[in-house]
Symmetry: C2
Amino acid sequence: MPTIEDVAREAGVSASTVSYALSGKRSIRQDTRQRVLDAVERLGYLPNASARMLAAKRAQIMAVTAPLHPDTDQSAHMVFALEVTKAARAHGYDTLLLVDDDASEGMRRSAATALADGIVVLDVAAHDERADLARALNHPAVFIGIPDRTDGIVCVDLDFAAAAREAVDALVAAGRRRIGLISHPRTAVLRESNFPLRFRDAFAAHTRELGLSPAVAYPDLHAADRALEDLLAVLPDLDGLVLNTTEEVAQSALDGLAARGMTVPGDVAVVAAGVAFPTSRLSITLDTIPLDAAASCGKAVEILAGIVEDGLEAPGVTLIPPTYLSHGSVVPAAPRPA
Amino acid sequence: MPTIEDVAREAGVSASTVSYALSGKRSIRQDTRQRVLDAVERLGYLPNASARMLAAKRAQIMAVTAPLHPDTDQSAHMVFALEVTKAARAHGYDTLLLVDDDASEGMRRSAATALADGIVVLDVAAHDERADLARALNHPAVFIGIPDRTDGIVCVDLDFAAAAREAVDALVAAGRRRIGLISHPRTAVLRESNFPLRFRDAFAAHTRELGLSPAVAYPDLHAADRALEDLLAVLPDLDGLVLNTTEEVAQSALDGLAARGMTVPGDVAVVAAGVAFPTSRLSITLDTIPLDAAASCGKAVEILAGIVEDGLEAPGVTLIPPTYLSHGSVVPAAPRPA
DNA sequence: TGGCGCTGTCGAAGCGCTTCGATAGTGTGT
DNA sequence: ACACACTATCGAAGCGCTTCGACAGCGCCA
C-alpha cells in the first residue's frame, strides 16, 4: 500500500501538502492540487485508517450496540443496525457492530480505546443500564428508543403518542366511534421498552378527549383472540380497531375478526400504528403508521455526527413525526341499521 | 484517557515494560508485572486502538460485507452478520459492518485503509464480483457460501450434498421409496447462490444410486402447490418429501399435503434440509438438517483468524458436516394396503 | 576470578498521518 | 523602492503504541 510519502514524491510536493490538498484545510494552488490528485489516482492511494485516527483523534467509526437477550427477535434489531450503517456511511462513517452479552462491555471498550467516535444504542429498555453508562462515559451516544430517565442522554424515537392520536383521528374521521386498541402483551408493556405505554396512554387520553370511551386490550404472547374478546365485551359494536402490536398478533386479530364474521373495513376499520412490519404481509393490507427504522436511524446518525464533528449541543429527546399510509382499511362507516 | 506513559509512571517502569507486561511477548519479573497490572487497574487503562493498530499493523477488526439487493430479505443475512460478530469477539476481534450498495467498495476500502484485518463475505452469489475482488485484493477474506469459481478464494458452507444424501437416507431408512424434493424457484436455482443446485444434484444422484427414481419440483416464488402437483404427477403414491426451500414454501407444501388429505408423517414422511428457519415455526415441526449460521460463521471466523494471525495456509473450500435433528416427521411407513 | 549466557528492563525508532509555525514568493499601496 | 498582507508550501513535532537492540546484573562453570 502506498503511503502519503509515496504520493508526495510522485507529485513532487511534501507530505503535508498532500494532506492539505486532500483535506482542503488550507488553500493549495489549483495546479498543485491537481498533481496531487493525479498521483493519488495513479498510485491508488487511500490513507491508512489507523494513522489517520491516531493523528486526527477521529476514527470515522460509529459503534452500534444491540443487547443480546436470547428471547428477543434478533433480526428485528438487525434491521435497525443495517439502517444505522447506511446512514452512517452517508456521513462518512463506518459502523462497528457490538453485540456483547454484557451490553455495557462493548460500549465501554469502544469508548475507552477511542475505537469509535460515537455510539448508537438500539433496543432501549425502560430501565437500561446503558443509559447510566452513557451518562458516566462522557462519549457521544444516541439512543434509539426512550428509557424512563432521559436526563443527560440523547434519544430519538417515533412520536408514539402522536401516532396514537393520528390513528384515532383517522378512524373518527371515517365516522367510527367505538374504537379499541390491541396493545402489546401486559408483561412487555410493563417490563421492557416503554413505547407501548406511551402509545396506550395517548390513545386513552385522546379518545377520552374526543368523548369516546377508550377500550384497551392486551394480547397473549402470540394470539389476539382473548384480547379481541375483551374488547368486544366492552364495545360490542366495535367499529374501529387500532393495532399497536406484533405482526403475529396483528394477523391473529384479523383472523379473529374474520372468524366472527366481521369484515374489514366494512364492519371494522383497522389501522396498525407504531409497528415495525409492513402490513402488506398481513392477510389484509392495513392502513399503517410505520415505525420507520430508516427515519429514526437517519436522525440518530445525523445528531451523532453533529455532536462528534461540531460539538453541537445535544438535543434531549427528538420525536419523529408519524406518517400515515393509506391502504384502504379505513373507510367511512356504512349507515348503521336502525 | 490514561496513556501507556501514565501507567508506566504509576508503576515506576518504562512504557516498553508496560507493553511487554501486557502482551506477554517478553518475560517480565512477576512482581513487576503485578505492579503494572495494579497501575492499569487503578487508572482504568485501555490501550488506544488506533495507536495500537498503527504500531502493531493489526486492527483486531474483521469486516463483514452483505450486499444490499433490495429484493433479498435483509434480516436473514443480518443473522449471519450477528453470528460472525459473536464469533469474532470470541477471537478478540470487533466487527465492521459493510453494507454498501456497491458491494465491492467497502471491501476495497477496508482493505486499502487497513481498517480491517480480514473480511467475511456473506450472501455469496454463484457469480459474485466479490470473488474476483478477493483474488485481486491480497487481503484475507473468507466467503460464507460458494461461488462457481472457487480458485484462489476461501469458502465455508454447509455440505449441502451430504445434507441431501442424509435426508434421503433418513426417509429410505423409514421404508420410504417414493421420494420427492421441493427445491427453490427455478429462477433462484439458476441465477443466484448455487447451493440449491448442489443440493438438487446430490439428491438426484443419491436417489438414483439407491435405485429410486428422483423427482424434483420447483415452487413458484411463494407457493408450493404447483410443485406438489408436479411431484404427484410423477410419483402418485409419494411417501417421502424433502424440502430444501424457504419457510413460506415449506409451509405451503404442508398445507398442500393437508388439503389433499395426506397426513404427515403417516402418509408422507417429511424432512426439511439445508434450510435457515427453525421448523418449529411450521404447522408441523419437521425433522430438519439446519443451515446453521452459528456453525458456518464460527468456522469462517476461525479460519480467518488463523490466516491473519499465523499466516496459515488458507484451506480452499470447507464444508460443514450436516446435523440431523429428529422431530418425529419421519417414521416407518405403515404397511401398504395390498 | 574471569568469561559466558540468561533474564529483565530500558531507550529509541518508527508506524503513517495531521497540524502548527515558519518562510519564500507574490502582489498592493504608498 | 519599501513595508505589508496574503498565499502556497515545507519541515518538524507529535498522536500512543510496539518492537528492536542494548545492556546491567546475575548465577554458573571452568
